[in-house]
């Protein structure tokens, strides 16, 4: 386009691109705002008294006073602290166990040729497709038989088992992108398979492990079902069950539930923000050509 300025059309390339960009931002912002509405409402509710909540049109109103006693109350009298503690004790070992086992399985499936390789992979994927409703009763009975009913260990083991399929599949696909020569070079250098896994593959897989850790942490943290099936004792219940218990038959303290929900949300949020910086792509740049 070498013609003069006077002839320049209104929609030049840059102007068009700028408009597109603006539209994109406006739309994205609207979408984010829309998604945040429930969160903001929950936050408002958590600051109100029950009287204020029951008033007409109160759901959308800002709280009259910014009072945080609901949080204090839910933490001390309802036992939110213990619920949060229980969730941590279940979630952290579950995530670590899932990542450890699935990365080992994925390592084997991605880099070793053995007879049942494909079959094992297919079994992992097939396992992901079974709806959990179907498994609830078998799991319940199995847990009872082996004596894991009403123990944290039982919940942890089932979380690990049920997340393994997805994580192995995810990591295996990531590992497949690592060039085979990065396994062969250390093998010739004299590294054992375990050392190759630990010193070469895991450092290279850090971004995908971080992504998985965040996902798994959130999923397991928010799990209600397995805890509901496997735990009866109130002392062991995680935060999701605790919140569910707060819904009364005749009256529900919405402000307390909202405060509890916000508390329950904080840790996954912190975890996400902490690991976000590890979503570094291009870890393998420089390993091989290009």
């Amino acid at each position: 386009m070498t013609s003069g300025v006077a002839r320049m059309p209104f929609f030049t390339e840059t102007r068009k691109r700028r408009l597109e960009k603006a539209a994109f931002y406006i739309l994205s912002t609207a979408l984010v705002a829309f998604w945040l509405i429930p969160l903001v409402l929950a936050f408002f509710t958590s600051l109100k008294s029950m009287d204020e909540i029951m008033g007409k049109g109160a759901m959308w109103a800002m709280p009259k006073e910014w009072r945080f006693d609901n949080y204090l109350k839910v933490w001390t009298s309802v036992g939110m602290g213990r619920y949060v503690y229980n969730t941590i004790v279940i979630t952290v070992p579950s995530v670590i166990g899932t990542l450890a086992l699935s990365s080992l399985a994925a390592f084997a499936l991605a880099f070793y040729s053995f007879k049942m390789n494909k079959t094992v992979l297919i079994m992992f994927i097939a396992g992901m497709l079974i709806p959990f409703q179907m498994l609830m009763i078998p799991v319940f009975r199995f847990t009872d038989t082996v004596g894991l009913m009403n123990t944290r260990m039982g919940v942890i083991l089932f979380h690990v088992a049920f997340q393994l399929g997805f994580c192995t599949f995810f990591l295996r696909n990531f590992f497949r992108q690592i060039p085979a020569s990065l396994i062969e070079a250390p093998r010739i250098d004299g590294a054992s398979d375990y050392r190759i896994y630990w010193q070469i593959i895991l450092p290279l897989a850090r971004p995908s492990l971080a992504a998985l850790a965040v996902l798994e942490f959130t999923w397991i943290w928010n799990d209600l079902l397995w805890s509901l099936v496997l735990l009866q004792s109130d002392a062991l219940k995680p935060v999701t069950l605790g919140l569910a218990n707060m819904q009364g038959e005749f009256i529900s303290y919405y402000n307390m539930t909202a405060a509890g929900s916000i508390i329950a949300m904080i840790l996954p949020l912190v975890f996400f923000l902490a690991f976000q910086r590890h979503f570094v792509q291009g870890m393998t740049v420089g390993a091989v050509k290009g």
């Binding site: 020569s181 062969e184 250390p186 010739i188 250098d189 004299g190 420089g286 390993a287």
Partner: protein, 373 residues
């Protein structure tokens, strides 16, 4: 120190695909051997079997008289340089080179000494603290070579190490690897698909095709005594000219009928060609043995020029006879134009002949060059 012997080595994939078929190669100590061939010829697979990265379906591999068929790579005392460098991206150049030594629990001072010595030889001392991604392709390849050197292995294996570099760098690295071979006096096995690399680097060349060794010998032996049409066409650039001729006997004399021209074979070849009277065979003639014939003498072929490639030091002429295309190397002072009608007089003493059906050399040639001792 290290002699590598391959006896009937075979690789079969998925039950029936023969990637490597009964390969027999003897690699002497301190020799620089190049495996060359088109892609899929089994040269890399053979190298990987020597490295221990592929199982051997049949045959024996011996390194220093020790049968290594079932010895894991780390215990074969070999080092390998990969086509894509295979540097550990999360480690510094120093750690990349020291990795294999640390595993072998070598004394820290000794590791440091060896890494710095290798870095000095390869001129990468400045980059020891950098990560691979901060290096250029050539520097990365040097690090990969350095990682092999520090190990001080019996045998160096190179798997197309220069094919990712640009042409100029490739020529430079080629010279550096030859220099390295002279300095280290180690056995080196080098895989490439580039016949120029093979010719310039190898003490001995192994030409492979379809998993089968075609011929083994020094670069010049293969150039001058190719065992079949494939080797003749693969080694040399521009490639050997192949002209289909019919062997005729006229008045007790043998004549080769090209279609539009007739040629008289060299006296030394007559006896060998006699059994082929009445049959079609392939005559091979190198471009430098097909000189421009100003006088249009007898025993020449008449052509029309189709392409002129002035290279400065010489000219490559592509010319068309009635039935064949040929390339000739002529001195640079000639002035040719496309469409010129020109005669070339092949040096019949340098001509090679191949059976029309089997494509094997009619002139006697060794499959494995026998060196006079």
């Amino acid at each position: 120190m290290a002699k590598v012997v391959l006896k009937d080595v075979t690789k079969i994939y998925d039950g029936d695909v023969k990637a490597v078929d009964k390969v027999n190669i003897v690699i002497d100590d301190k020799e620089f051997v190049v495996f060359v061939g088109p892609s899929g010829c089994g040269k890399s697979t053979t190298l990987r079997m020597i490295a221990g990265l592929e199982d051997i379906s049949g045959g024996d591999i011996r390194i220093d008289d020790e049968l290594v068929n079932d010895v894991p790579p780390k215990d074969r005392n070999i080092a390998m340089v990969f086509q894509n460098y295979a540097l550990y991206p999360h480690m510094s150049v120093y750690d990349n080179m020291a990795f294999g030594l640390k595993i072998r629990k070598i004394d820290k001072g000794e590791i440091d000494k060896r890494v710095r010595e290798a870095a000095r030889i390869l001129d990468i001392e400045k980059y020891l603290d950098r990560k691979p991604k901060q290096l250029s392709g050539g520097q990365r390849q040097r690090v990969a070579v350095g990682r092999a050197i520090v190990r001080n292995p019996k045998v160096f294996l190179f798997d197309e190490p220069l094919s990712n570099l640009d042409a100029k760098l490739r020529v430079q690295m080629r010279a550096e690897i030859i220099e390295l071979h002279n300095r280290l006096q180690a056995t080196m096995i080098y895989v490439t698909h580039d016949q120029v690399e093979a010719m310039t680097m190898g003490d001995k060349i192994v030409v492979m095709k379809d998993g089968i060794v075609q011929q083994i010998g020094s670069p010049l032996y293969l150039y001058n005594h190719p065992i079949n049409k494939f080797v003749a066409g693969f080694i040399g650039s521009p490639p050997m000219n192949f002209v289909k001729v019919r062997v005729l006997s006229e008045g007790g004399e043998l004549v080769l009928d090209e279609g539009s021209s007739r040629l008289k074979p060299d006296a030394a070849h007559v006896a060998l060609l006699k059994p082929y009277v009445g049959k079609d065979i392939v005559m091979g003639i190198r471009p430098e043995d097909l000189p421009y014939d100003e006088k249009k003498a007898a025993n020449s072929i008449k052509t029309k020029i189709t392409v002129v490639e002035p290279l400065g030091a010489e000219i490559h002429l592509w010319a068309q006879t009635a039935s064949h295309q040929v390339i000739s190397r002529v001195p640079p002072h000639h002035n040719f134009r496309i469409g010129d009608e020109v005669s070339f007089a092949p040096l019949m003493s340098k001509a090679r002949y191949f059976d029309g059906e089997t494509e094997m050399s009619i002139l006697p040639v060794d499959l494995v060059e026998v060196k006079a001792k």
